[in-house]
Amino acid sequence: MEVRVVNVRKEFERFPALHDVSLDIRSGELIALLGPSGSGKTTLLRLIAGLERPTKGAVFFGDEDASQKSIQERNVGFVFQHYALFRHMTVADNIGFGLKVRHGAARPPAQEIRRRALELLDLVQLSGLEKRYPAQLSGGQRQRVALARAMAIEPKVLLLDEPFGALDAQVRRELRRWLREIHDRTGHTTVFVTHDQEEALELADRVVVMSQGRIEQVGGADEIYDTPNSPFVYSFIGESSALPVKVENGEVWLADRPIGLPAPHAPSGEAQLYFRPHDVELVDGCSGCIAGTVAASRRVAGTRRVELEVGGERQRVEIELPVDHPAAQKSRVAFRPRRWKLFPTA
């Protein structure tokens, strides 16, 4: 089922949580809504589910306008951040709940409900735990029961709100791989919310980066990381360093000297230069480069991160060096970013 969000605006007591957001989700896609807290990602997910109504705009499921439909009619599988399992019901009853509350002919007989529940329990690799209560399960197991329960109603769309937010790092990684497998096997259109970029980039077909109630960029992992389209995306995804520079005569200038980066198409004037700390080349003798005094040097896992003070205003930037590179011992280092991007200062 493809889902289209068209010009949606959402206000909570006149405070806007989403400004005019549009998004096309393809059928069978696994898509991540990524952003810091307060960016509106959970609100967008709840709007798609029908847990909230948009102030303006519409949500389409296929060609059907779903915005006027209630959450029951939309037939979505929603997995809550804190699982929201029914604590007085066994695992099997939890999973069967969505079938049990159906009316008339749509409601399968009790035996069929039980069979479906056991089947789903098998899918989420928890066979044998059907008689347990949620309180008797670990966090990761609860999350899987919650997913099985959401899938029991054969939803058109699966929506997951910070599905791994409350789990520890190792379990998260394991469940991430597992969710990808389940998705590839069942083919549900799946949207999940996360604030963990590693999770989003690794798991999703496409990532929707959000900030302050707006969508900043939509794209695959490569696209988002290699060609960020805004200063926010550049600094939010991965490591980045930024320097205030000037563009003049098709060249980038730092203070009063050009730094050897041609920018023939950039408009002249003040700008911010963004680059990845690991994506730099060191140069000897500075004619057209960025040079700075070493202010601090830290060993981080497989690399050495060096903080430099650059220019008369002692702007701090970070670059990464191989651990045994001799430059780390020097007091002055000169470098030039290999890949970089300019954003004009407004």
Partner: protein
């Protein structure tokens, strides 16, 4: 697949650390003070009630309970409780639901209002009904013209009891429901349940123990209420006397055995309530703890 979530747990430490443990004499003194206080103010009166009730033997005890007026008082008390407890169950549940699950204007005011019967003297609550429904009261003329008797009759007693016992169920449920939030209901709705199913299968089971506590306390108070009922009842023997009022009348007539026999029934009710509550906690302790949080 091997379960990745199995962790080893360290053995539980002794929960009391040396730094917060008082010295032995202090502990003994505090314990003694508490026990003596409980003994003198709670246990002793209870024993005296039963001792006085059986002062002239078991025969006299049952004879005084068999008295027509006494039996009528017992019936009335049961009737009043049977009406007011279900009413307050419904009121309390809906008030708690509204306060815990929705945002609306005047919510803080409503919360305060629910506590009103706790903070107002029961006599005042009774007087309010006299001012409303009495012959000289606000609605008195109209009621008289239509031949409706509220004061000095069962409706008045029920109204006063409902007012006084209103907070018990609501008070028990509001914090519980607030803590549990809307998540479970949203989950139920997203799975296709309608509002009624969500309430019946999810909300109600989540609060059932709190609800039962509230009902037990509400019932104990409904049967034992004296002040408010005394003002509106009119003390008509065999007609509008509830058990607590009947105890007073018998006692004022120097019928100690009769008074304490009825009192022993009320005390027995209190004991049964406590025992039930304790049994519930013992039997379903783990489940009660589980429904109070994750």
């Amino acid at each position: 697949m091997a379960d990745p979530e199995i962790k080893s747990y360290e053995p539980l430490h002794e929960s009391r650390s040396a730094a917060v443990t008082e010295s032995r004499p202090v502990r003994i003194t505090l314990t003694t003070v508490t026990l003596v206080f409980l003994g003198v103010f709670l246990l002793l009166p209870l024993i005296i009630v039963f001792k006085e009730a059986f002062a002239k033997g078991v025969g006299a005890y049952f004879q005084s309970l068999g008295d027509a007026d006494t039996r009528s008082a017992i019936r009335l008390t049961l009737l009043v409780a049977a009406i007011s407890v279900p009413l307050n169950l419904v009121f309390g549940l809906s008030a708690a639901w509204a306060i815990a699950k929705f945002e609306f204007k005047g919510k803080a005011f409503l919360t305060t209002l629910i506590d009103l019967p706790f903070s107002v003297s029961p006599v005042i609550s009774g007087l309010v009904y006299v001012l409303l429904f009495g012959a000289q009261g606000l609605l008195g003329e109209w009621l008289k013209a239509h031949g409706i008797q509220i004061l000095f009759a069962v409706p008045g007693i029920v109204l006063a009891t409902v007012f006084v016992t209103f907070p018990f169920v609501a008070r028990e449920l509001i914090p519980l429901m607030q803590e549990q939030g809307n998540g479970d209901e949203e989950a139920a709705l997203s799975l296709g349940a309608n509002g009624w199913q969500a309430f019946w299968y999810v909300t109600l089971p989540n609060v059932k123990w709190g609800l039962l506590y509230g009902v037990l306390l509400c019932n104990a108070r409904a049967m034992g209420e004296f002040g408010a009922v005394s003002v509106v009842s009119g003390h008509i023997r065999g007609l509008t006397n509830t058990m607590p009022l009947h105890v007073e009348i018998l006692y004022n007539e120097y019928n100690a055995v009769g008074a304490f026999a009825v009192a022993s029934l009320l005390a027995g009710l209190a004991l049964v309530t406590l025992v039930l509550k304790t049994l519930l906690e013992l039997r379903y302790g783990a489940e009660i703890a589980a429904t109070r949080g994750h």
